[in-house]
């Protein structure tokens, strides 16, 4: 077993809205070994994104929680975790190449060096030849790959991907899933991946977490013992379907629960 890259100890979050306390995340303990692809599923609005915002350093956890990277507690993970939000957020005035190096630039890597690295990696992201294109000329799938490349090039050992394929059509999505599975094997990054698509979570993950309806806590933890490389036809195989049934059942329970408690305050 690899050493833990990321450790969460009693990480919790309660929002105060108009004087009322709204617990979004129950104290959560989690260990993510180096090189693991961990997928997180849960009913919509359950607090998955809150969890990611805390790990990315955008939100402080409630007092008492400890976040460790490589075993050492970190005050603020800002600048240490490669975070990819749901939308690609490409800057329209930057070319594909310059969008890809945004993180490196902020990190202080000289522009020429950053561009050289981006150029080298472009082919693996299916972007060779598109260096000088601008985002508005790209398809949704391609924009998402540029955003992934930007996340990937940023020098951080942990990648947080928040539903990166959520807005894509089913076909593009399945192609990108297979491609990302390949990238993950090839580069062995530690990846946390949020999705509400159960099939995607099983297809990509080494391990899968199901969160409960808000306030989120761990509902189910599941190893995904499927061999890699994973091919699209895997999703119709017997073991895959068995896993899917188990996860769907857990998530359905929680979705129904969150549906019946929708009347509580919505998160901002």
């Amino acid at each position: 077993m690899n050493p833990d890259k990321l450790t969460l100890e009693r990480i919790a979050k309660t929002f105060a809205i108009e004087g009322r306390h709204l617990p979004v995340l129950r104290p959560l303990d989690l260990r993510v070994p180096e090189g693991e692809f961990l997928t997180v599923v849960g009913p919509s609005g359950c607090g998955k994104s809150t969890l990611f915002n805390i790990i990315a350093g955008l939100l402080p956890p409630d007092p008492g929680g400890v976040l460790r990277i490589d075993g050492r507690p970190v005050d603020s993970p800002l600048g240490r975790v490669a975070y990819m939000p749901q939308r690609d957020l490409l800057l329209p005035w930057r070319s594909v190449l310059d969008n890809a190096i945004l993180g490196l630039e902020v990190q202080g890597v000289p522009r020429d060096e950053a561009r050289r690295r981006a150029r080298e990696t472009m082919p693996q992201f299916g972007l060779a030849g598109f260096e000088d294109f601008y985002p508005f000329a790209l398809s949704g799938g391609m924009r998402q790959r540029v955003a992934l490349l930007r996340t990937f090039l940023f020098e951080a050992d942990i990648m947080l991907l928040d539903e990166p394929f959520g807005a894509l059509d089913a076909l593009t999505r399945s192609i990108l899933q297979e491609w990302l599975a390949g990238i993950a094997v090839r580069y062995r990054r530690t990846i946390l991946f949020i999705t509400h698509d159960v099939e995607e979570a099983i297809f990509l993950g080494d391990r899968l977490l199901v969160l409960t309806a808000r306030p989120a806590s761990l509902k189910l933890e599941l190893k995904v013992p499927l061999p890699r490389p994973r091919r699209p036809e895997l999703v119709t195989s017997e073991p895959f379907v068995a896993l899917k049934r188990q996860v769907l059942e857990a998530i359905r329970e929680e979705s129904l629960r969150s549906f019946s408690t929708q009347a509580t305050v919505e998160p901002g």
């Binding site: 800002l78 600048g79 975070y83 957020l89 945004l102 990190q107 508005f136």
Partner: protein, 246 residues
């Protein structure tokens, strides 16, 4: 090309209408008369236009620089924004041109007072427009840059400022007009040079043709000023940006 045809058509209609209807030159001279007059006194008009444009452009440039700097400050200090910005927005409804007389008293009859008035009229819109633009950044994009470890200035330079450019240019285009108005009206309050002065003298001597020469010069200068800024905008904001013109 199409526009040129339009202009020629308007001028022709004007010429023919004035002649056919026998309109007195004191009411509306035919374009040919204005052209002839312009040919006779090109130096006078050029010198006047040069003087007015210099004041307008200097005031405008100062307004752009101060407006942008002030906007960066306002956008980053919420307390300042809350206390100052409403005052700025409200002040746009006040006909600040009424203060021009005071400015002449303070800054004298020379170009300085015109520059000050042109500055004064343009820098409110530039400030307000830039503040709006600086605040128009996608909060998620700001968050993304923060996760990369970016601080305030990096975020300003790499994200907020480029995002603000389309807003800034809407204000800068409005600013060309207000700066020119400031320079011309400033001359009315006290000066013996410039297009404003030329128009005022023509009015006093009831020289309608000369008056129209001044008007034509103002129109040409104003359109050119606007065109230069619009061309700069097309060069700098070439990506598909949200439509901001109302």
């Amino acid at each position: 090309m199409r526009r040129l045809v339009d202009v020629v058509a308007v001028l022709l209609t004007w010429e023919v209408a004035v002649r056919l209807l026998g309109v007195s030159s004191r009411v509306l001279p035919p374009p040919s008369a204005i052209a002839v007059q312009l040919m006779q006194i090109p130096g006078v008009v050029f010198t006047a236009a040069g003087y007015t444009v210099t004041s307008a452009v200097l005031g405008y440039l100062a307004a752009a620089a101060v407006g942008i700097a002030l906007a960066v400050m306002l956008a980053h200090v919420p307390l300042l924004e809350r206390s100052l910005l409403p005052f700025f927005v409200a002040s746009q409804a006040v006909p600040v041109i009424a203060f021009s007389a005071i400015v002449i008293l303070w800054a004298g009859n020379g170009p300085l007072s015109k520059i000050a008035i042109a500055f004064y009229l343009s820098f409110f819109p530039v400030t307000v427009g830039t503040v709006r633009g600086l605040q128009a950044s996608d909060p998620m994009a700001v968050a993304l840059l923060r996760t990369f470890g970016a601080r305030t200035w990096t975020i300003l330079w790499k994200l907020r400022f480029p995002t603000a450019l389309p807003y800034l240019f809407v204000a800068l285009r409005i600013g060309t007009t207000t700066a020119l108005i400031g320079a011309i009206v400033g001359e009315w309050f006290g000066d013996n040079r410039g297009l404003g002065t030329l128009i005022l003298h023509a009015l006093y001597t009831e020289d309608t043709v000369r008056l129209w020469c001044g008007i034509v010069a103002c129109a040409v200068v104003g359109a050119a000023f606007y065109a230069v800024v619009a061309a700069l905008e097309r060069r700098l904001v070439w990506w598909p940006a949200p439509a901001l013109d109302h």
